[in-house]
């Protein structure tokens, strides 16, 4: 226990926590939307994120990008990589929904069953990237080991507040993450399609009586979740620069925890939960050490749930107001 360390570096640790939390929040969004509409824990969502990270690596490699490219080109490549990654993750999320969830939904199967197919999907995706691709495409950069993704935006200090330096990467991750959450929140709360999402979340049967196409809404929800995961993967790449076949599992668990912490099914809850979880983890690592951070995360979750059984902001997507 070393609180003096935390207090000395409080500003820096907070920035680090926010960076970490923004990525959690974007991934948590996918869990929360799907849960809000389908009451289903999409356990394969972490692997959707992993697909995004590999896609970013693929785009960089295809364009031959490395640390040498200039600033304008780097920004262009990053945006392109984000676009491709978001498409790939949205596609993956949709395929999972069609192959593993829809057939079961049509049979009105209990949600426990869907959980098992989700775990199955997650294993398949992990194995595809961890092993199978290497066999099918000898020489491909896929494998069990962590693979470095070239840094195309070098880290440097952007500005400093009160002696606390904020790097350009941290700035991009936090601003992009939070902005993305706000845009999606506005989309769900203001747009016509968003109203459909809320209607289905509140009462699927009544919504379909009112002319909302439930299937289309479900597709939309998986696409939005997938896009958010793709962008999270891009931000993760900018900050951490690596891809690994099993990277999705842990971040998926954490993001799911964040979603529950904030109130699952609630978009703003995902943001609050994600940022809070990120900050708590960094603080606890600063005070004790990193090997206790998962314990801290889960203890905080249990404590919050004991006092607010539906998370910090409550759970209903249908009731979320503008």
């Amino acid at each position: 226990m070393d609180f003096s360390n935390l207090i000395e570096g409080l500003g820096g640790y907070t920035i680090d926590g926010l960076t970490k939390g923004s990525i959690y929040a974007l991934v948590a969004l996918g869990y929360t939307l799907v849960y809000g509409v389908l009451r289903l824990i999409n356990f394969a969502h972490g692997e959707v994120f992993m697909v995004g990270a590999w896609t970013v690596l693929g785009v960089y490699t295809a364009l031959g990008a490395d640390s040498g490219v200039g600033v304008p080109l780097a920004i262009g490549i990053t945006l392109l990589a984000g676009l491709v990654a978001a498409t790939a993750t949205a596609g993956t999320a949709l395929v999972i929904e069609r192959v593993a969830y829809k057939p079961l939904r049509d049979k009105n199967a209990p949600r426990l069953i869907v959980l098992i197919t989700a775990i199955g999907c997650s294993m398949v995706l992990m194995e595809l990237f961890g092993h199978a691709f290497k066999v099918w495409f000898p020489g491909a950069q896929f494998g069990r080991a962590a693979v470095n993704i070239p840094t195309i935006i070098p880290t440097q200090e952007a500005f400093s507040i009160g002696g606390v330096g904020v790097s350009n990467i941290d700035l991009i991750v936090i601003v992009a993450g939070v902005a993305m959450m706000i845009v999606l929140d506005q989309f769900v709360n203001k747009s016509r399609l968003g109203r459909g999402v809320r209607a289905v979340a509140q009462d699927p049967d009544t919504a379909s009586l009112m002319g909302v196409n439930k299937d289309r809404i479900i597709v939309l929800v998986f696409v939005i979740g997938g896009v958010a995961a793709g962008l999270a993967a891009l931000l993760h790449t900018l900050k951490y620069d690596f891809a690994k076949f099993d990277m999705g599992f842990l971040i998926g668990m954490k993001a799911f925890t964040a979603a529950v912490l904030g109130g699952i099914g609630n978009l703003r809850g995902a943001l609050v939960g994600g940022l809070l979880l990120g900050i708590c983890e960094v603080y606890s690592s600063a005070v004790i050490s990193s090997n206790w951070e998962d314990v801290t995360a889960f203890v905080i979750l249990v404590v919050v749930l004991m006092f607010r059984p539906t998370g910090i902001l409550g759970e209903s997507l249908g009731k979320a107001r503008a």
């Binding site: 849960y35 009451r39 824990i41 192959v99 593993a100 057939p103 079961l104 049509d106 049979k107 009105n108 199967a109 209990p110 949600r111 426990l112 069953i113 959980l115 098992i116 197919t117 775990i119 199955g120 999907c121 997650s122 294993m123 398949v124 992990m126 194995e127 595809l128 092993h131 199978a132 049967d205 379909s208 668990m253 799911f256 925890t257 529950v260 699952i264 090997n291 206790w292 998962d294 314990v295 995360a297 889960f298 203890v299 979750l301 249990v302 749930l305 004991m306 059984p309």
Partner: protein
Amino acid sequence: MTDNTKTLETVREWTLGLPGKISAGPRWVRVLLLVVGLAFCVYLPFLDVLPFAYIRTDLGEGGSDWASTLFTITLYMIIAAGLNVVIGWAGLLDLGYVGFYAVGAYSLALFGSPNSPVTQAIAAQFGLPTGWAMAFAACVPLALCLALISGVALGTPTLRLRGDYLAIVTMGFGEIIRIVMRNSSWTNGASGITKVPEPPAPDKDFFSTMLPERWYWLALAVLVLVIWLLRRLENSRVGRSWLAIREDEDAAAVMGVNGFKFKLWAFAIGAALGAIAGLLFATKQASVEPNLFQLNLSFLFVAMVVIGGSGNIWGALFGAFLITYLPERFREFEAWRPLAFGLALVVIMVLRPQGLFPNRRRARELEDRKHEAEEAAADA
């Protein structure tokens, strides 16, 4: 087509309907079948008659010992039976079952091994000779107590939460147990504890690593006992209350069934069975380390129960058998096994959402829900 279907129908009647037929038959038939079945299970490690011997796991090059595999299968069957109480009967989604498994294994290791910091501290405190450790027989009730305590300690604050919240909190519990064991110096950290004691036996070499079939028989005996107890429990007042809670908790509450109390019971019983399995595992393994209790084992356990058909104890046992046996049997496929496993989970569940051997009542519920879904679709 019809002939084929008829044969299949007969086969299905015979396999799936068998437990029902047996329980309806005269007593001597039941006893005889039970004895024959048990005798066959006991004989299994020595099975070497050719067409049947193909089920052995040690035929191919690089295979694993058949009796040791049977031990693992039986061990996971005990776990599946225990988790079936929580998931199948009481309808609670527990994603941290590995935590109880770890509690069982570590209670035996911490108190029964002369190498554990706990026994050493106790020995130093009370001036006992070095190398002192608690007897195996004393560790069993201790492990059960610790598991019950942890089950109740986890259940009391969390069982009031709704289903999905329970899932993540139990998952967290499983992880916390593992991480604490990894980080704490009381459990020797990540290196774990060696010299876990063997069960009491007539002579010193009775439970030897050279005779894995004896370990299998021990596990089999425990499994039979567990099945017998659970069958009695299923048809008791407690079993009926679980059913009522699972179907409709509010209606059950109106009828005077205290949902919380019975849920806690299910949790505690599940925890105790998990701990027994953990204890058996630790004593066979002779050493424990936190890495043996990773989170993905919990998912594997849930998959066993659900694939087999949750709610039906035979289904859960069969699920455990499949999930443990097939990867061992098909070792030739090495790195492709996890991929095949994931695919199989998806395919089986999509084609057969009720599980391979569903509880009859559950299958009917599912059939109803399917009709409802179809009607709703037709209405729309």
